[in-house]
Symmetry: C2
């Protein structure tokens, strides 16, 4: 019997069949300035151009596409720092499903506002004094809503993995065999799904997780081959990547697929946001830029290599963007 | 005998064969937020993601690919407010050809700096007291350089037209037949080339030129069926679109292809730049956003229509972008 917590490329292909009409097929872009700067061949996957501004729409749309009628009637609930929130709200709206979303009071305004615009009932909580999982579970119990977890869910992981199908298709059309894949990592859903697919197509690909300094739980967990939690007093501008520890489902997948872990500082991320807007002409949020920050700050040797870099989201408050 | 000043879709296909390995195949992107806002199906062609930050690389690369050995040795010269400057400098650099570029002193800093970075000899002139065409012609005569005009050149027009091939290919893959094409217009090279190709593939397409208020020479010229010059005291933030009048070569092509002319105000462009960065997650320069401004400010009825919108460039000074 197949282990229901495991995932392979066929699960991701099946997810893509379900969601491909509901999401944007985002482009990969190569840029001469950056290639010359690094003496490398870099392909950026632009999930910041995805509807709702991040890859999270893939997983949320897939999860919601599989709901039973009973759950559809009761609605869904989710907790999220903002990108999963918008994605669940949006995917629920498209299916006329009621959505309650629990978000931190200090989440970027653009994320809170958009989640409300997509028709969800937003419940703000204090990250110091309250626990989002408890609030979510209470609502789930009381209202019989389905809780859609941000990453530790095999359907969500398969949905996020569909970004890998598009990367592989586009690279195959260009006859490019990538050697390195740099992908951001919060709870690890995107990297778990996309690396599973990319490893299937490109077996020799070296996959690196990239996290903010102080939130490099996946890096430490992989090095120690067991789940290790972040210190609770860390801070980072990468609001999308502050998960406390790897997921129970994502971690074994990532342990198998990831070659090495990288972490980057807020300063490195800020410089990267500026360079991406000046040279790649794209708006990226801090958490969406960590993989590019690892590349541009030369955390690994990429010279003469073919590299795929995930740009995972673009939901940055205009005040923060301006202040850079 | 074929009129050497006319152009058809085959000229553009031939240009694409010469340049496709030297340019980025830029994506078209559709965005649910904007589609819902307008009740329309909009496809943005992202030439701001082109190398050098604008479509101009297409025409410059094509022109330079056709140069004789003698011209290659003497080098080239060009005048431009900035995007053609960067494109000629970059295309010349790739072929090891010397380039002199004449640019206005008040051109965006990013454009002047990049043109220099690409190895060109930049000559700044005062737009009030000096004439760029005269300076360009003097250098051409003295140094036997080839003058690469920004738009009134059939090879440059064919090169810019290759953006139309990519649009048509991508829309065909999506089984989309567009009804409206909105394209910026300065001297008219991009719209002349791209509309020639798109009209060939989609004969019923309605093509609109979009210009800044006060620089709507193509609109007026088409309405009057003869070349009409702009008033010399107009001002606009759209530095890329300030050509004084339609070109002698571009005008007859555009007169044949264009269905109507539209003009937009600086305020409408500024609001558009903000919306494009917040919702499409892209950085666009003022001149690159006029077609989107016409769309978003509802200059024509686009409801329930399938529309292609050209985003032509992204070279905006960070100070201006921040000030929005």
């Amino acid at each position: 019997m197949k282990n229901t917590m495991s995932i392979n490329y066929k699960d991701i292909e099946n997810a893509y069949k379900k969601i491909s009409d509901s999401i944007t097929k985002t482009p990969i872009i190569s840029n001469d300035y950056i290639n010359n700067l690094l003496d490398a061949e870099v392909y950026f996957k632009l999930e910041n151009l995805q509807n709702t501004g991040s890859f999270k729409l893939r997983g949320a749309t897939h999860k919601i596409s599989k709901l039973s009628n009973k759950i559809v009637n009761n609605g869904v609930v989710a907790y999220s720092s903002g990108n999963h929130a918008q994605a669940v709200a949006y995917a629920a709206l498209k299916k006329n499903i009621s959505a309650k979303i629990i978000m931190p009071k200090n989440a970027p305004k653009i994320k809170i506002n958009n989640t409300r615009k997509y028709g969800a009932d937003v419940i703000l909580y204090d990250t110091f004094f309250e626990n989002r999982e408890k609030i979510g579970n209470d609502i789930k119990e009381k209202e019989n809503r389905l809780l859609i977890k941000p990453y530790d869910d095999i359907d969500v992981i398969a949905g996020q993995g569909t970004a890998g199908i598009e990367i592989a298709d586009d690279l195959n059309k260009l006859s490019v065999i990538p050697e390195i894949y740099l992908c951001c990592c919060g709870g690890g859903g995107l990297i778990a799904g996309s690396s599973t697919y990319l490893k299937h197509v490109f077996p020799n690909l070296k996959i690196y997780s990239v996290e903010p300094n102080g939130f490099d739980d996946t890096k430490k967990s992989i090095e120690n081959k067991k789940i290790i939690e972040n210190s609770s007093n860390s801070k980072s501008i990468c609001d999308a990547l502050l998960a406390p520890k790897p997921g129970n489902i994502t971690f074994p997948i990532n342990l198998k697929n990831i070659y090495g872990g990288i972490s980057v500082s807020d300063e490195e991320v800020k410089k990267t946001l500026i360079l991406l807007s000046e040279h790649l002409k794209i708006v990226v949020e801090p958490g969406g830029a960590v993989a590019a920050a690892a590349l541009l700050n030369k955390k690994i040797d990429t010279r003469n290599k073919k590299i795929v870099v995930m740009i995972s989201g673009g939901n940055i408050d205009i005040e923060l963007f301006r202040s850079l």
